[in-house]
Assembly symmetry: C2
Homo-oligomer: 570 residues x 2
């Protein structure tokens, strides 16, 4: 029996709204049309003359995470979370959808990318677009909370239009840290920048090679002051700011053209802007500004400059000044920033000569698969940037009305960080240290003719190990063959085998064998221990092995292995 | 300037679809109507004659998680994840929404509870209703994966109708573990049951008191065989099974009435069913069935009984037989189960006499706030149950067509587990061991007249501690007062203060003070150490303190504190 595509869709729609009395029909329908027919993954199956009713795939712009990628992503989350907690961060969890008016009017032109839930009666809701607006909504709803360091790692949703940049993920993780509260000037801002350095540096992801990451900083008051000084009309400041923001990917001539032709600036004003926005560096940039009369006559610019000077003092105390560059062309897209703004960029410099190439290949692979993580039009993450943020002192007031709570924060682009970290690991050959599971012991048995499989005994040994907190598995088979058991252990990279034999069993003994020892190693054939000593002996070997692995991985990669090895790193 | 409610909604809708050219208008609109007016949390604000455009709240049936609740929930997730990993579990992450046809026809009558995304062009999608169907879809899409132990902790969405049970959460966490693959009979099933016992028992949540949890088990083949033997017509088996499933909350007389009046069974057949379904226990139930001729003449019943006998042997080897009850009235709602089914129930027995009361109060509190976590109509979690699952050998085939992958799994109802764990902690006074942050050291300063605040010095000391991986904070103030700094540390439950004084500073010394020491303690006033020894001294004190706390919490609660204390428990 066959249904046409349109019939199927009609039935499916009918079902979803009035399913209550046609439930059983619905099931038969699927049994007839889907169950008895093979559906090839990612292929539209020809069901007779009709198209198949649906592809077996995830929705456009989404993907499943699995295997080693999932393990690595978890490690990255752990490394980031560890740093957040070190600075007193606490986490909150908000719903994946918000009332629609909460999100409206917060994202400017990008509001069209918001996913709406269907109107099935009741409130109108939309999927969250970022984690910042829900955080501001939460602060406004909880007036007793006047200050907090909150972090939030969760998925956000952006319905990229076909006409826009292709291949952007529609579901992706954001990883945000924000400090809310009225404090002495630039102190929380400095700590956020310190946190960024810890996350990418030695104590976090281990991007310790020169130029692996750098932070571009600017200040909205400096930037707006510059525009005022140069003669940009007030109402054009935001749009000219957006034009300046493109300088990291477009040459000045193009940006200038946009300013003049599209945004109606005079050439003279544009040229004046150019004399400012090409400046970058450290204290030297500040000193030059200070010596400029036009600058010191502008209140906004002066205030911004004082903030920046104070910030640099604090960054020095925190030991991270060298990672930071004052860059007058950094503008950031979002409207809600009111103070310091920053962007973390990778310069593509590599721990060895091949990483750059690998990164390109990785990017290409993802593009082909429509999983390009380059969110080039993403207002929170710029081109080549892996994190971005700034101060937004007025967003909470958009919800609370009366009480403003000043905030400063950072959002990490986890997908991009993932791609780069993976390429770095592939480059340094440490990717093999990622095991799909964390199992430490495979309990196996062998025997000659009439071998029973020692199933109950294997189960009892597994129980003993689990009781002691040791991660263990055994073959789900009555009489497994020894080579098959070794193969299972090898495939999962399980470091130890505990081997039961019928004779040894009779003497109350079992064998511990470390997998993959070289020929000639004294324990190559394993060591026999009494069943009573098994747990202690396994634990001791795991401890020794763990130390070795940890040291090796730390040396080459720097990425915390605490989770994978069940160790704490603090 | 005021807008009527309808104008606002119209404008908002207009904006969300055609925002591209009215972005700036949109922002002004919000500035006018929302920003300058206070909106009270959870109150509809009277904006002149009109109703406020929206309440400042989360959507119905959803909530924010924060503070100690969030910390406790994370601990529960950690305790559960630790057990999953001990058994070789790996995690996957699937999108929060699926193509609509993937979900259709999988949930019977409950399909009407599925949240749909709005049709904004392109594919039609719906929010996931559980984690099982996405797992089956994933397995079907990845034919190279023929076996896996996968776990998945994530939110699922159910659009409860106003006509149905009130107060059910519409967004809630599920926590699933499933073993997929063709293995020797009952081995994965036994391991799933062992995992359940580890999670609730000593090595997990610490529900070690008698009756804190028990597992009811039945087998679909046994149940269907019973219905056949009793004379239930084949086409009525599923619906009669649903009636039997109500026996845990309704008396037999009611269920019998339903079977006869609503489902057209004869009284004789119903009475015959009753002779079976009231049986529960262990081997005795099996022995009684074995001696029944009718039973052994039914192929389905015989096969199911053999499975159960084998399962009980394995549970014995795993040391968990005492937690399990063979209960012939357990039926489970979902259609897709094909073998063993189980449900974990709490009997309300308590570690002390007040817990039951507290649990009731907690439940009532949640009900009042419309946050009742009792998903009494939830097919995956029955009344009083905290976890449920079973074997489903044919679900993957609904997607893959050709290749079946047998599966068995368990879903934990995290919200209910959270409520019970919290009530238990309140009861045992261990709830105070939950700190909102994990910060270990508060860096403070004091001084007399002309006190500079020692800000740079505090920042440098914080940097030193962070560099060593120690969790530290300091006041974001140039010249903080000492009592205010102590208050901050106390409020966050931070165990140690590092105190800088101007004189001590000059001598290169700082003071370490443990908070909350009793009068007369030798270190009550703190100990002075050289700045070079600070990190080592703090680490040593944290180690000692950590051991003490861990021991105390372990004793009274059993819940792993590894995450809160930064220690590993394995």
């Amino acid at each position: 029996m066959r249904y046409s595509y349109s019939t199927i869709i009609r039935l499916a729609r009918f079902n979803s709204s009035t399913i209550s009395f046609i439930g059983p029909l619905n099931q038969h329908f699927y049994k007839r049309t889907f169950i008895t027919r093979p559906v090839d993954p990612l292929e539209t199956v020809d069901m007779g003359k009709d198209k198949a009713p649906y592809q077996l795939k995830t929705p456009k712009g989404t993907k499943d995470w699995e295997g080693k990628d999932m393990v690595l992503r978890d490690r990255i989350f752990n490394a980031i979370t560890t740093v957040f907690k070190r600075h007193g961060g606490v986490t909150i969890d908000t719903p994946v959808f918000e009332l629609r008016p909460i999100l409206s009017g917060k994202y400017g032109e990008d509001s069209k990318l918001i996913y709406d839930l269907a109107d099935q009666g009741g409130e109108l809701c939309s999927l969250r677009y970022d984690l910042t607006v829900p955080f501001a909504r939460w602060l406004a709803m909880n007036p007793s909370i006047q200050s907090i360091k909150r972090y939030h790692i969760a998925k956000v949703y952006r319905r990229d239009q076909p006409a826009m940049t292709k291949g952007r993920m529609r579901e992706f993780y954001q990883c945000d840290f924000d400090i809310a509260g009225a404090y002495d000037r630039m102190l929380p801002d400095a700590e956020v920048l310190r946190i960024i350095c810890e996350i990418f540096g030695e104590q976090g992801l281990g991007w310790t090679d020169e130029g692996a990451f750098n932070i571009k900083i600017n200040h909205r008051k400096v930037l707006d002051g510059i525009f005022e000084v140069c003669g940009v009309p007030k109402e054009k400041i935001r749009t000219i700011s957006s034009a300046v923001d493109k300088l990291d990917k477009s040459p000045w001539e193009e940006v200038k053209k946009e300013m003049i032709d599209e945004k109606g600036l005079s050439e003279e004003v544009a040229d004046r802007i150019w004399t400012f926005v090409q400046r970058k560096g450290g204290k030297d940039v500040m000193d030059a500004l200070r010596q400029d009369e036009r600058v010191m006559g502008n209140e906004s610019l002066k205030a911004g400059l004082e903030d920046m000077e104070l910030l640099f003092t604090y960054l020095d105390a925190f030991g991270v000044l060298s990672k930071v560059e004052f860059n007058l062309s950094l503008a950031r897209g979002l409207d809600y920033y009111t103070g310091v703004i920053y962007e973390v960029v990778t310069e593509g410099s590599a721990p060895s000569s091949t990483t750059g190439h690998k990164l390109q290949r990785a990017a290409k692979r993802e593009k082909t698969a429509e999983f390009d993580e380059d969110r080039s039009n993403d207002p929170s993450v710029g081109v080549g940037s892996v994190a971005a943020g700034g101060r937004y002192d007025e967003l909470v007031g958009m919800f609370s009305g009366k009480a403003q709570i000043p905030c400063v924060g950072i959002s990490f682009g986890v997908d991009r960080i993932f791609s780069i970290t993976k390429a770095r690991m592939e480059d340094s050959k440490t990717v093999s240290t990622i095991r799909p599971t964390e199992v430490d012991v495979f309990v196996m048995a062998f025997g000659g003719k009439g071998f029973t499989g020692l199933l109950t005994e294997r189960m009892q040994v597994a129980k003993m190990l689990w009781d002691a907190g040791i991660k263990a598995e055994f073959a789900y088979k009555q009489k497994p063959k020894l080579p098959a058991q070794f193969k299972s252990a090898e495939q999962s990279g399980i470091p130890f085998a505990v081997i039961l034999g019928e004779e040894e069993q009779a003497m109350g003994k079992v064998k511990i064998k470390e997998m993959g020892l070289p020929e000639g190693h004294p324990e190559k054939d394993g060591v026999m221990v009494g069943i009573g000593e098994l747990v202690g002996e396994v634990k001791e070997r795991l401890r020794r092995k763990g130390e070795g692995v940890e040291e090796m991985v730390d040396r080459v990669n720097g990425l915390s292995t605490q989770d994978a090895e069940g160790k704490t790193g603090q």
